[in-house]
């Protein structure tokens, strides 16, 4: 049960980070290479926010999510809006620059210190008679999955989500139909940052926060590509696949290959199905 809960916790965490990448990619065709850095900044941010909120985890998380949402809007209008219509690689370069900037910011603001996010007890939770799971795993799984579901419902079911998807399909046509493209893409960035912030907070409670920990973004990109870069539900499956491969490589083969194994799987998936498990072939042609 511990093993299963660990795989589900890590899988849902990678999935939440991956869905941020997918939503941004779908609406603006930008592959966000800064998602890992955004997550760790979110994790550090929540430690600060909990302090500001007088030790209240709920208030601290709320504060962090609010700040993340505002930063999502700022990132869109300051960094991404000026390059609308430019070649996709320009957006990628900007996110790489953002990642570098965030790494520097983490050192300046939090001095690159190793931090844990204290979200409460670290013992076991009884989920059924005689069945216990580590609370950190359960908390990560529940937090990430709940956030993922909210994002999925907003994206698939709400009017805002419909507008975002319309922009994803055809920006010009969407604009002609009166959809505010700025709002749609800015919302995508808000979703990406909130997802990164929540994932970062839970990652900080599950593992540890440090500047190099931003490498978790590589796993998120791998999950997004395995699931399909334009598929929200694919992000969740991709996250679970990455976590499963990583866990079984660590325990059955060697921890040496735990980071490389999901990437090898990605290569296989992309060879057989270049658009990912749940992606559409059309997206590959567009890129």
């Amino acid at each position: 049960m511990d093993e299963l809960s660990l795989v589900l916790a890590l899988g849902s965490l990678y999935a939440l980070l991956a869905v941020g990448i997918v939503v941004v990619y779908r609406t603006s065709r930008v592959l966000n290479f800064a998602q890992g850095e955004l997550a760790i900044v979110g994790g550090y941010g929540v430690t600060t926010a909990i302090g500001v909120a007088g030790g209240s985890v709920i208030l601290g998380l709320g504060l962090m999510v609010t700040v993340a949402a505002v930063l999502g809007v700022v990132i869109y209008f300051v960094l991404m809006r000026p390059i609308l219509g430019e070649a996709p690689y320009v957006g990628v370069l900007v996110t790489i620059g953002l990642a570098i900037f965030l790494r520097a910011a983490m050192v300046f603001i939090w001095e690159g210190q190793i931090e844990f996010v204290d979200l409460g007890e670290t013992g076991d939770w009884a989920i059924a008679s005689g069945l216990e799971v580590p609370s950190t795993n359960a908390r990560t799984f529940i937090g990430c999955t709940a956030t993922f579901i909210v994002i999925y419902l907003i994206y698939q079911r709400s009017r805002l989500g419909v507008r975002m998807r319309a922009v994803a399909e055809n920006v010009t046509l969407a604009a002609q139909r009166g959809i505010n493209v700025d709002v749609a893409i800015a919302t995508a960035w808000v979703v990406a940052l909130v997802a990164a912030g929540v994932a970062g907070a839970l990652y900080g409670a599950q593992a540890l926060l440090s500047v190099p920990a931003a490498v978790v973004g590589v796993k998120a990109i791998t999950a997004a590509l395995i699931g399909g870069l334009d598929s929200v539900k694919g992000a969740y499956v991709g996250g679970l696949v990455v976590a499963t491969v990583e866990y079984f490589t660590t325990t059955q083969i060697s921890a040496r290959y735990a980071d490389i194994a999901p990437i090898l799987l990605l290569l296989i998936v992309l060879t057989v199905r270049p658009w990912g498990m749940f992606g559409t072939a059309e997206e590959v042609e567009r890129v």
Binding site: I83, R103, A104, F116, T122, L208, E246, T250, A255, A258
Partner: protein, 419 residues
């Protein structure tokens, strides 16, 4: 187009800021990353000795190596405050290698050829050492590594290669002794990351454990790994009698937390290669247990009362520090004592050749921060080493000494032993 140019400028600014973050710390004095610059009015007026220091100040092991540099700088600040060496201050020119061997070599060459330093101290991960030692042998500049030397300094030592800290083959041998103190049966798990030194330490550690009748298993992970829950779960499932970790601070924090959360309650020993007491405390806190946590190393803990440690704490109070004081500072202080004694013996001016000559026959009283003197003799550039273990005492909230120093004789005298 102007928007695009603005954007490119923004990205370049970000790159510049990021680069600045891991910037070389060339203060021409003793300040920089280790706290305040040397602004003392008491700075000696003689022409300065100039030493180079290369280490990882911005890469994955920044947390482990920066405090060591800080300890080195604190010693030099105190030395300069006290009048320097016969009226000559010691300037330390610092370079960041970001844990990259190529960067370490180019930084060392720059220090040798442009800064004209007498010698290079510090160094970071063992995987960077061989290249630096080779390049500096060509340049005929002595290199004295800190707590993570490789076998180049063991007899017959490579010319110009010295180590005043931990050589992993020897550390592994010491670890083997501590392993068998903590468990006399069952399985010992050696955990390390992909590095020359970590693997060498595990080789020697396992050899000693097997000799004592323990089963041995090994877990190796990439240096970049930062998420240890799977690794912790894997190790806990093996139900080991003792676990020893040969890596830096950040890895210890993650592994301790993951192990304890996965239910492992047995002894965990942190091999002390720049692993700070504070990092171990954070790992224990995150793991929810302060029991059965040990560390061993060649240097005293910052919690100890030896004369050298007290002097270090006093210097830290006088000059300030950026990092929580730790045994990593102690190891930097010890390295600086070696530099001080070698420069004193060398006299002024001290050319690289003269410094090398001075190092070849040197005995340094470390004032209690090691179990005996640090001594180099002829082609033995490491000498006898002493090792000691500490256990965390939650009542005292400190690491307390567990047993006496263990002396490991120079390798030549030990008949090629040491791993």
């Amino acid at each position: 187009m102007p928007r695009l140019l603005t954007l490119i400028a923004l990205v370049l600014t970000a790159l510049f800021v990021a680069a600045g973050c891991g910037d070389d710390d060339d203060d021409g004095g003793n300040g920089g990353g280790g706290g305040a610059a040397d602004t003392s009015a008491d700075r000696p007026e003689g022409r300065p000795y100039k030493l180079g220091y290369v280490t990882d100040l911005s890469g994955p092991l920044r947390e482990s190596y920066s405090p060591t540099l800080e300890g080195f700088q604190l010693y030099m600040q105190q030395l300069n405050d006290d009048g320097g060496i016969d009226g000559h201050p010691v300037d330390v020119v610092v370079r960041d290698d970001s844990l990259n061997a190529d960067t370490a070599v180019s930084a060392s060459e720059e220090l040798a050829n442009q800064e004209n330093v007498s010698g290079i101290f510090g160094l970071s991960l063992s995987s960077t050492h061989e290249a630096v030692y080779a390049a500096m042998e060509r340049a005929q500049i002595p290199v004295v590594s800190g707590f993570s030397g490789i076998a180049s300094a063991l007899p017959p030592a490579q010319p110009f290669a010295y180590s005043a800290g931990t050589i992993f083959e020897v550390a592994g041998q010491a670890a083997g002794r501590f392993t068998t103190q903590l468990a006399d049966e069952g399985t010992f798990v050696c955990v390390t990351f992909e590095s020359v030194g970590g693997i060498a330490a595990c080789d020697a550690n396992e050899a000693a454990a097997r000799e004592a009748g323990l089963e041995t298993e090994r877990v190796v992970f990439p240096v970049e790994t930062r998420e240890f829950t799977s690794i912790g779960s894997d190790i806990a499932d093996r139900d080991p009698s003792v676990v020893i970790g040969h890596y830096g601070s950040e890895q210890n924090v993650g592994v301790i937390a993951a192990l304890r959360r996965a239910g492992y309650e047995g002894p965990y020993v942190a091999a002390n290669y720049g692993v700070t007491e504070d990092a171990l405390r954070r790992g224990m806190e995150a793991g929810g247990s302060q029991e059965n946590t040990y560390m061993f190393g060649r240097f005293a803990s910052i919690d100890d009362d030896e004369q050298g440690v007290t002097q270090l704490r006093d210097a830290a109070e006088s000059f300030g520090t950026d990092f929580e004081l730790s045994n990593a500072h102690v190891s930097g202080w010890g390295l600086a004592r070696v530099a001080d004694e070698a420069l004193t013996k060398c006299g002024f001016p001290c050319s690289p050749a003269d410094l090398d000559q001075a190092l070849q026959d040197l005995q340094v009283d470390t004032q209690g921060i090691t179990g005996g003197p640090i001594a180099f003799q002829g082609r033995d550039h490491y000498g006898e080493s002493f090792w000691r273990m500490h256990q965390f005492d939650s009542g005292e909230d400190a690491f307390v000494v567990e047993g006496d120093w263990i002396g490991l004789p120079p390798r030549a005298e030990a008949g090629g032993g040491g791993g």
